[in-house]
């Protein structure tokens, strides 16, 4: 959700039950403003909260002018009671565009930049299951059988691989973004020169449009768009329909779409990543999404539908 309309957005997204306490809201407003200034972001989104066992992570994302460019992700966490102060600290956040450094601070008002997600990270972290601990330096241990060559013998040895929780955090945020970040149709438009911009004349979806899944797009580079037939493409408006819609998500039915607040608010909840809530007030400009959850994919989804 946009940092500019944070309070309203939190109100509207509160239907899922998770929100922020007043003190967090206040500190978020201030710190996000400072983040926007420091990192020279065009827009700062409060992405959400990942609940850990001991502490929670608060995640924010910064966008540049081009809305679909890779976003920079920042996180902030607070140590729970009874934790020792971890050593090793504030590295300078990476200043170069597109590359991100890593830092960890203890002060609750400060945000640390996360590195961009790579496929390696995703493979590494796919073996880690369970809840997040809440400490970014916590290391998950995973024993693997690896083939080790020693001279002519090839035998398998158990190797304990350590995976840091930060890596897992980065990878999970990236997966969630790619899978379930949502934007309504018409909110962004593509200029002929390439960059994607916020559509200032977006007045909101109408009520009938808002109840259809096809009016919502994934907020990421399109993957399936080129697979559409020419007939389908003929109906699309190239300046507005340049992202994948939610209609064809697999498994079908992985989105729950409801009207709340006496039919004045459309809420989409993802069943694949429970905790992701997208809200939109039809005929107004208010929309946004927030993730508050444990950061675990709901693999049981096909059984549950």
């Amino acid at each position: 959700m946009d940092e500019e309309s944070l309070l309203l957005s939190l109100e509207l997204a509160s239907g899922s039950g998770q929100g922020l306490s007043p003190d967090r809201r206040a500190s978020l407003l201030t710190s996000l403003m400072l983040v926007k200034r420091d990192y020279r972001f065009d827009r700062v989104l409060f992405w959400g909260r990942i609940l850990g066992l001991v502490a929670d992570y608060y995640i924010a994302q910064g966008l540049s002018e081009d809305q679909l460019a890779p976003r920079k992700t920042l996180y902030r966490w607070r140590r729970g009671p009874g934790w020792l102060r971890p050593q090793g600290d504030t590295e300078e956040p990476g200043a170069s565009e597109g590359q991100e450094g890593l830092g960890a601070t203890l002060n609750c008002m400060e945000w640390s930049l996360l590195p961009p997600a790579t496929e390696e990270m995703e493979m590494q972290t796919s073996v880690v299951k369970g809840r997040f601990m809440g400490d970014p330096s916590h290391a998950y241990e995973h024993t693997e059988l690896q083939k080790v060559n020693e001279g002519e013998k090839v035998f398998e040895e158990e190797v304990v691989v350590q995976i840091k929780e930060e890596t897992r955090l980065v990878s999970i945020i990236d997966q969630i973004d790619k899978a379930v970040a949502v934007i309504p149709r018409g909110a962004l438009f593509k200029t002929p020169f390439g960059p994607i911009r916020v559509n200032r004349t977006f007045e909101g979806l109408s009520l009938s449009e808002a109840k259809k899944l096809s009016s919502y797009f994934h907020f990421r580079e399109p993957v399936e768009l080129k697979n559409k037939t020419l007939l389908e493409k003929a109906d699309l408006d190239p300046s507005l329909d340049f992202m994948d819609s939610l209609e064809h998500d697999i498994p079908k039915g992985s989105w729950s779409i409801q009207m709340e607040r006496g039919n004045t608010l459309v809420v989409l909840r993802s069943l694949l990543w429970p905790g992701l809530t997208f809200y939109h007030a039809p005929r107004t400009k208010n929309y946004g999404y927030i993730y508050v959850g444990t950061g675990e994919k709901n693999i049981d989804l096909p059984f549950m539908l």
Partner: protein, 716 residues
């Protein structure tokens, strides 16, 4: 005679100018005569050369301005801006105005075809405009700001601009006849009048043709490009967005959309918003009840007031914890609960939480009826269940009696004995639950939960759809529909996650309790009047300061164990069998943790504590609230502060399991009837046997026929 041809030119110009001025006077009686005399002067000064184009441009636009002034006083501005904008675009589109090739007017070719003359003119005009842009816009702006009031002043200024132009650049004579008048929209009520049409300059002809083209409408719609551009520029000037060039495309689209969706209908309601308005009406009814008449109703309200909890206070504390619905939603829930209390005989009531569903969500209220109120409906439901069982048994008996000759062996499988559900107000059925989808909708009561439903609910994992009568399709088959499944999940969640600070509840003192096995096996508790509250920090530090105050549900599905075999009184049991059963009883008796067990005794999930405790605000610990979150049932929260505490659940209604969900395997294939002396499976006859049988039958028939013939023969 040679003088004549040149002569008519200036005089007609003059006359036409006067006529024009007369026309203008007719149109706007307010117009002073002051501008008129100046016009002819300018006309003379304008040289007839390439610069006339500029002049004709301005003039034509002036004429257009005058022509359309009444309709849209902003047209002059727009014209200029229009031209200016065109100029800004690099003059590429300028030729559109200048191409005066009537036969070749083509829509798309403006941009591509290079017409040297046109571009030359365009560049000249560009220069001109750019030089005077500042002045233009200033004057335009000031003109714009008083659109209606100062029509005259506007035109005064335009004439001044004309003067400027004429003084600076020596324009050619302006043509005063106004062929553009012929294009005036009939709405403006202009009287088309004939005038002397002198031979127009080719440039001007080009302009007029361009304008004619712009004004043409297609078969599909009544809107011409010209009108659309007028609307667009009006909109831009009205709204004055920053960086209008940047937004031009989207504004264009918006204007087009608005043209086709005029908001004219003030009488008829927007059909789309119908459901929204209905919901709002219903919710308005909620608020209407609070304004009851005074007097007698006050007493009732007070009595009812004690039943409805202080939702707003709890919502406040939950908000401190970062959980819960927004405050206006909480208030609506409060009103809805009040409505419920008014409708049903309720002793205590509590907002249990919200269960999210696919199409709709459920708001759940936990209530306890007053003690003297017996739920008649419950009895009926139980009766129906019993009757169903009775019918099944009688059916089987009937079948057995009818086929006396060929007795179908009765299957030896007996369904597992139905474990009776707990009585109301006991165990899992201690409270009654009402649900509704949104505050304002009527509350629906959920049926009591049966043990078999809880047992099956543990094996399946399904999303709720939001409609209570949806069947739950799963394996193992769930006995009931979504209402039952919902009730079962509510029971499980309540049993697992309803906690309170240690000491808030205490056991009611009864004699002889200490002698029972397994420690205190109390079923009831009561509030401890001496409870003084535990400091928040201690609540957060140790889980031993919290206790469960709902009974644990045994694997059987009940809170108190019931021996299912004892219920079957119909079976004749010998003494030996009874003893054996008792032995089984003792072994099978299920024991659960007693009431008021602290949380520290809860089983861990994969080395993970099932509860997470947090201070609501670490920056101000003295005023914060202790918040406990369940890891086993994500969405279950409890807070405590001082003497107050509350539990709430907002979530999907499923338990957390670190492993994947594995559906139960289907039951093993049932055994067929064992072959014995009574039951022997016959083997099918072989082909030879059948043929032998057929042959034997034929012989019999032949013999019978022969006998008949003989008999007949004898009769004869």
């Amino acid at each position: 005679m040679g003088d004549l041809p040149p002569d008519p030119e200036p005089p007609p110009q003059l006359t036409s100018s006067r006529r024009n001025s007369q026309v203008s006077e007719r149109r706007r009686s307010r117009e002073h005569s002051r501008p008129q005399p100046t016009a002819p002067e300018e006309v003379q000064q304008i040289p007839l050369d390439a610069q006339i184009l500029r002049g004709s441009q301005e003039m034509v636009s002036n004429q257009i301005n005058r022509g359309w002034s009444q309709g849209a006083s902003l047209t002059p501005n727009e014209n200029f801006i229009f031209q200016a904008e065109e100029a800004q675009r690099g003059g590429i589109e300028y030729p559109s105005l200048n191409t005066g090739f009537p036969s070749e007017v083509q829509a798309q070719t403006y941009l591509s075809e290079g017409r040297l003359q046109a571009s030359h003119n365009a560049s000249l005009i560009l220069q001109q405009l750019q030089q005077d842009e500042g002045n233009l816009f200033q004057q335009l702006e000031s003109a714009y700001q008083e659109p209606r009031a100062d029509l005259l002043g506007q035109y005064t200024r335009y004439h001044r601009e004309d003067l400027q132009f004429s003084q600076d650049t020596q324009h050619g004579p302006y043509l005063r006849d106004d062929p553009a008048l012929q294009f005036s929209p009939s709405e403006l009520g202009f009287m088309p009048f004939s005038m002397e049409v002198t031979e127009p300059e080719p440039r001007e002809l080009a302009v007029q043709n361009a304008k004619a083209y712009l004004l043409q409408t297609s078969v599909d719609c009544n809107l011409s490009l010209y009108e659309h551009l007028v609307n667009l520029l009006t909109k831009i000037l009205n709204q004055r967005p920053e960086d209008p060039l940047f937004l031009l495309e989207s504004l264009n689209r918006t204007t087009q959309w608005e043209w086709f969706h005029p908001k004219l209908d003030t009488l008829r309601d927007d059909p789309e918003m119908q459901t929204t308005y209905e919901m709002a009406e219903r919710q308005k009814a909620l608020f209407g009840q609070s304004g009851g008449s005074e007097g007698e109703q006050e007493m009732e309200e007070e009595a009812a007031g004690t039943a409805v909890p202080n939702i707003m206070e709890k919502a406040f504390y939950l908000e401190q914890a970062g959980v819960g619905l927004s405050s206006d939603e909480s208030f609506r829930i409060f009103m809805a609960l009040k409505q419920l209390v008014g409708q049903q005989p309720i002793h205590t009531c509590r907002f249990w939480g919200k269960i999210l569903g696919l199409s709709r969500s459920y708001l759940v209220a936990e209530v306890e009826f007053r003690e003297d109120e017996e739920e008649v409906e419950e009895m009926m439901e139980g009766g129906e269940v019993m009757e169903a069982h009775g019918e099944e048994e009688s059916d089987e008996g009937d079948e057995g009696e009818e086929k006396a000759t060929d007795v179908i062996p009765k299957p030896t499988w007996k369904p597992p004995p139905v474990i009776p559900k707990e009585e109301s107000r006991n165990g899992a059925n201690k409270y009654l639950y009402f649900v509704c989808n949104e505050p304002g909708q009527p509350w629906v009561r959920l049926p009591h939960v049966t043990p078999i439903q809880i047992v099956q609910a543990r094996k399946i994992k399904k999303f709720f759809t939001g409609f209570l009568d949806t069947p739950v399709i799963s394996y193992p088959p769930f006995p009931g529909n979504e209402a039952n499944y919902l009730r079962a999940q509510i029971a499980r969640i309540s049993a697992a996650t309803h906690i309170s600070p240690l000491g808030f509840y205490q056991f009611s003192e009864e004699e002889g309790d200490e002698e029972e096995e397994g420690g205190a096996r109390h079923d009831s508790y009561e509030e401890n009047p001496d409870f003084e509250g535990i400091p928040v920090l201690e609540l957060v530090d140790s889980m031993a300061n919290w206790v469960h105050h709902t009974q644990h549900i045994l694997p059987q599905g009940r809170c108190t164990w019931v021996n299912p075999l004892q219920k079957t009184e119909e079976e004749e049991l010998g003494e030996e069998e009874e003893k054996a059963d008792e032995g089984i009883d003792e072994a099978g008796q299920e024991v659960g943790p007693p009431l008021l067990t602290p949380l520290s005794e809860d089983a861990e999930i994969m080395h993970m504590s099932p509860w997470t405790a947090r201070l609501s605000c670490s920056l101000s610990p003295q005023y914060s609230v202790a918040v406990v979150r369940s890891n086993l049932w994500p969405g279950a929260y409890a807070y405590a502060s001082g003497k107050k505490f509350e539990n709430i659940y907002i979530g999907w209604g499923h338990k957390y399991s670190p492993e994947n969900f594995n559906p139960s395997l289907p039951a093993p294939v049932q055994q067929e009837y064992p072959s014995g002396p009574e039951i022997v499976e016959m083997s099918d006859p072989t082909v030879e046997e059948e043929q032998a049988l057929a042959a034997a039958e034929e012989e019999e028939e032949e013999e019978e026929e022969e006998e008949e013939e003989e008999d007949e023969g004898q009769d004869d």
